[in-house]
Amino acid sequence: MGEAIVITSGKGGVGKTTTSANLGTALALQGKKVCLIDTDIGLRNLDVVLGLENRIIYDLVDVVEGRCKIHQALVKDKRFDDNLFLLPAAQTSDKSAVNPEQMKKLVDELKQEYDYIIIDCPAGIEQGYKNAVAGAEKAIVVTTPEVSAVRDADRIIGLLEKEEHIDPPKLIINRIRNHMMSSGDMLDIDDITTHLSIDLIGIVMDDDEVIRSSNQGEPIALNPNSKASIAYRNIARRILGESVPLQAIGESKTGVFSKIKKLFGVK
């Protein structure tokens, strides 16, 4: 029996889709059987980031409306032998084409076969969000070190806490710019975690390589040399239950050790 994790944020453009693609990739690299679901009906792009766009035959709406079987709609990623699959969203309808009950049924069915179901949630708190969280039992909230993104993350955490079937959400802080954080122009990690008061599961540095690789349809997690890739792989390991220390921010003197100390509140 697998585990369904919804990746959400409230605000758009903070990196939900990139995070979904890379966590899926990183988990698949660890040998887990992963199914990614894109619930952003009408504005899908998880398929593009994964480079699977031209293999889509059926989509999520086809499955819930009974036009095809689930396994017909799943797109296999050939880079990971039988470990990574994508259930793409429809591009032609809108969010109301699916309801939460249908999503729950679908996710429950997929849980029988896969270790992890990663659900990519659309921005906003309307129908699309409700569909995305319906089948999940875990949630990861993605935010960036900006006040507006943190505010929306706060809102979404409030909503997630009301869902009884979902465990307390975990936090990923994305697009950290080392020089801005150390100069105080950006919210720092401590500010964000104390403000939102949920567990931090990972931080990801802002990296040009992320944009380059997603444009090429190759998730950055495949490239072992980039900082962002290591960050995503670390998050995947934490999802699997390993305890991995947080990455050090930049080349400054705050090493891994002081970061851990900070984590435990030792100044």
Binding site: D154, R155, G158, H195, S197
Partner: protein, 226 residues
């Protein structure tokens, strides 16, 4: 059979008091009240308004019935109804009354978009994040950071206070007063252990928690103990 008087009118310094019998039917009462008021009808032009208190004894009146009586009195002469008092209230009203005097302790984080409302005093163990709102009929005490909106004394209790361990609100409201936060909080200022109240000039001011002891001694619920 001797007719008992269901309506007794007494004059006091502050006006008239109508003592209404609580043993007769409401209809009888209404009729007699109407009659009594007509008998004593003396039309004096430009006579000053007289305030009337109505005492119902052990009778319970619905809101409509109260309105009916008020209308009756107002209609007859240059009288104004001050208040209607009764020894009885419904269970519902009694519960409400009790709730208003209760302290509601809640441990939670009030996040953006969430509203937490209580009828009495609020004791919140947790933060109020920006975009979150807490409302209380009485005082608000927050063991945590107040970064959102707090509204104390929503039903007009101007003596209500707002106290927080960390006071960096986006807005403070007490009864009908409103106070907006400065556009920027200085990061060096800590704003710890502060309270807000309405001062003599009708403005919400923020001060150290310790001043409450002198300004609002009514917050104390327990007598003695030291």
């Amino acid at each position: 059979m001797k007719k008992t008087h269901n309506v007794m009118i007494k004059g006091t310094k502050d006006g008239l008091t109508l003592h209404l019998n609580d043993q007769c039917s409401y209809l009888e009462l209404k009729e007699e009240l109407e009659e009594k008021l007509s008998i004593h009808h003396i039309e004096v032009e430009e006579s000053p308004l007289i305030s009337v208190k109505i005492q119902l004894g052990n009778r319970y009146l619905t809101a409509e019935q109260e309105e009916e009586l008020k209308e009756l009195v107002r209609h007859k002469r240059n009288l104004v109804v001050g208040d209607i008092t009764s020894n009885v209230i419904t269970k519902e009203e009694a519960n409400k009354l009790q709730e208003v005097n209760d302290i509601f302790s809640i441990t939670s984080i009030v996040r953006s978009g969430q509203i937490l409302e209580v009828p009495g005093d609020l004791l919140l163990v947790g933060d109020v994040n920006p975009g979150g709102t807490v409302l209380a009929g009485g005082n608000i005490f927050i063991l945590g950071a107040l970064k959102g909106i707090a509204h104390a004394g929503v039903n007009g209790m101007r003596e209500a206070v707002i106290a927080a361990s960390v006071m960096i609100p986006s807005q403070l409201r007490i009864a009908d007063c409103l106070n907006r936060a400065p556009d920027h909080y200085n990061k060096e200022d800590h704003h710890e252990m502060e309270c807000a109240y309405i001062d003599d000039s009708n403005h919400i001011v923020i001060d150290r928690l310790q001043v409450l002891k002198h300004l609002r001694p009514n917050i104390n619920r327990v007598k003695g103990g030291y």
